[in-house]
Amino acid sequence: MSHNVTSADIAINGDHLDNSKVAKVKTICLAIAAIGSLISLCLLFGVFGKWWQGNFAYSWVFSFYFFLTLSIGGVFWTLLHNVSNSGWGTSVRRTFENLGSTYPWVFLFGIPLLFPQVNQYLYEWMNTHREATGNIKEHLHHEDHLMYAKYWFMNIPFWVGRFLFYGIGISVVIYFLRKLSTSQDTDPKPGTSRLFAARKHSTYTLIIFALTITFTGFDFLMGLDYKWFSTMWGVYLFAGSTLNSMAVIILVCAWLKSQGHLKHVTGPEHFHIMGKLLFAFTTFWAYIAFSQYFLIWYANITEETSYFLIRNTGNWNTGMIFLVVFHFIVPFVVLLQAWLKKNPKYLSIVAVYTLCMHVLDHYLISIPERGISLGKIDPDVFGQISTSIPGAFWGDILAFVTIGAAFLFFLLRALGQHSLYPNRDPRILESANFTN
């Protein structure tokens, strides 16, 4: 079926998503996102009291970063496709770009983190900095040597500067790459110039990607406990991000195919290769996750072990063991099957499963810190230091649904904007006839 596709099979004016078909879903998503954001902002800025303000800050950073990994992964696959001069992916490249194009929108949900009302509960080092009267560095020198030593990196003006860089850098990259790609769809003389331009500009921008995924991880998640550090952190988040954005790409492609789109240009071979990437990054994630654990476990340094001590206490430990078995062993064995990877339906089931595990992974990254930090900051409101705060998980669900609905809205919006595959790309036939 996917063999011997000729230019006669390619939609000359592109394969467009019927916007009226998704209008209803989009409206619902937008409504949920709007109402959810309103409630969330009230929670974040203390309208419902301090208890919610503190707890919900963690819910927010968890959901925000979760969806950020999906979006930024879309950018990564676009860059990788271009820079590796890949032929197979041309027919699904637009999906990479569409997923990546949600990045600026998802990043907007990070803006509350800039406000002291929100980040006072998340990033305790900022409180110490704010308490200082006069020279901050001098103050830190007496307060906490670790903070003093880290001052060159962990100071509020630089943090805000980095925040802007994360928001603008990748947004600009994906905006121009997507524009370069979509402008080809209507060009009567497409040529190869865009191919070379995309390849050229994807090289150095890959560095911006690497910096963004690594340092957003440092600033937003590792910063939850300023004492803790892990050299594997950036690559750990990168592994989860790439894996799960591929899961989203598979789901989008499978859905589009079930709706009669991407006809002739994608087939079992494309799903096979995407399944293989899913498999590869499942293994990569496990490799990195274990390496991080291994280094910390072996070295046994107080500042480093805190992360795993918290997560190996109480019910969090069950979650961590669950992650080993169900984020790695199960999908590893399941994805070994070649026939499964060639079948969009079965592969989609695995993709949904992988995303569920990613939720758990990120929940275990962000949330266990809540009971510890909040108990330290204000025991009168949040109670003594504990592994978890009962009832706070409702906020997690709200934040997840809110940003998730917005993510879905912007993804569907992006899908509806342009042709679903680059119909005038010089390599579209190569990609359509690809066999592995």
Binding site: H3, F290, Y293, F294, W297, Y298, N300, L336, A338, T435
Partner: protein, 185 residues
């Protein structure tokens, strides 16, 4: 001089191009032959489907090879460092919970055993190394490494017949059809 009997290997036929070979292979497959093969100067994508080749059993060898390697690694590390000579490093326990320290060994041996089963399993399945192949008796066969596209149907195949198979090869576009006999030893 030439009254010694030679064993017949099968028919060898040449095809004009990779595309002609591809189409011919599908027809040989549909004719129900099992013991036959295609010979091309370069890999032809999709030819395995056209030939109706089943998926190789090799991945299963590798899977169990890997499991064997992992088990070997565990037995090795556990026996030496926990059972025979408990080694306390940095106050780490010497029991089953020492397992993170064994992981590099488990991992490497899994890879090593998998790689060995790939290599030796592959050599076994394709029956290499061998000193000679009956097709080398053909004068035209060397072109399979240059510009020749060949199909060889073995006489061992149940469907093989001296006339029928030759006619089939001619019918599907084969040129220079040759009955290959094994060389005298």
């Amino acid at each position: 001089m030439s009254n010694t009997r030679k064993r017949v290997y099968g028919y060898l036929a040449e095809f004009k191009s990779a595309s002609a070979l591809y189409k011919a292979a599908a027809k040989v497959r549909d004719a129900g032959f099992r013991k036959w093969d295609c010979y091309t100067p370069y890999p032809v994508h999709g030819l395995d489907d056209a030939m109706g080749l089943k998926r190789s059993i090799l991945p299963w060898f590798v899977f169990f090879g890997g499991i064997t390697g992992c088990a070997t690694g565990f037995a090795l590390a556990y026996t030496t460092q926990v059972v025979i000579y408990p080694t306390v490093v940095q106050a780490k326990p010497t029991n089953i919970f020492t397992i993170p320290a064994f992981f590099p060994v488990l991992f490497e041996l899994t890879i090593l055993f998998s790689a060995f089963t790939v290599l030796f399993g592959l050599l076994g399945l394709i029956q290499l190394p061998r000193l000679n192949h009956p097709l080398f008796a053909s004068k035209q066969f060397h072109r399979a490494t240059d510009d020749g596209f060949f199909i060889a149907i073995e006489a061992r195949d149940a469907k093989f017949s001296p006339e029928g198979t030759r006619d089939l090869l001619a019918e599907i576009g084969g040129d220079n059809i040759e009955l290959v006999e094994e060389e005298e030893n």
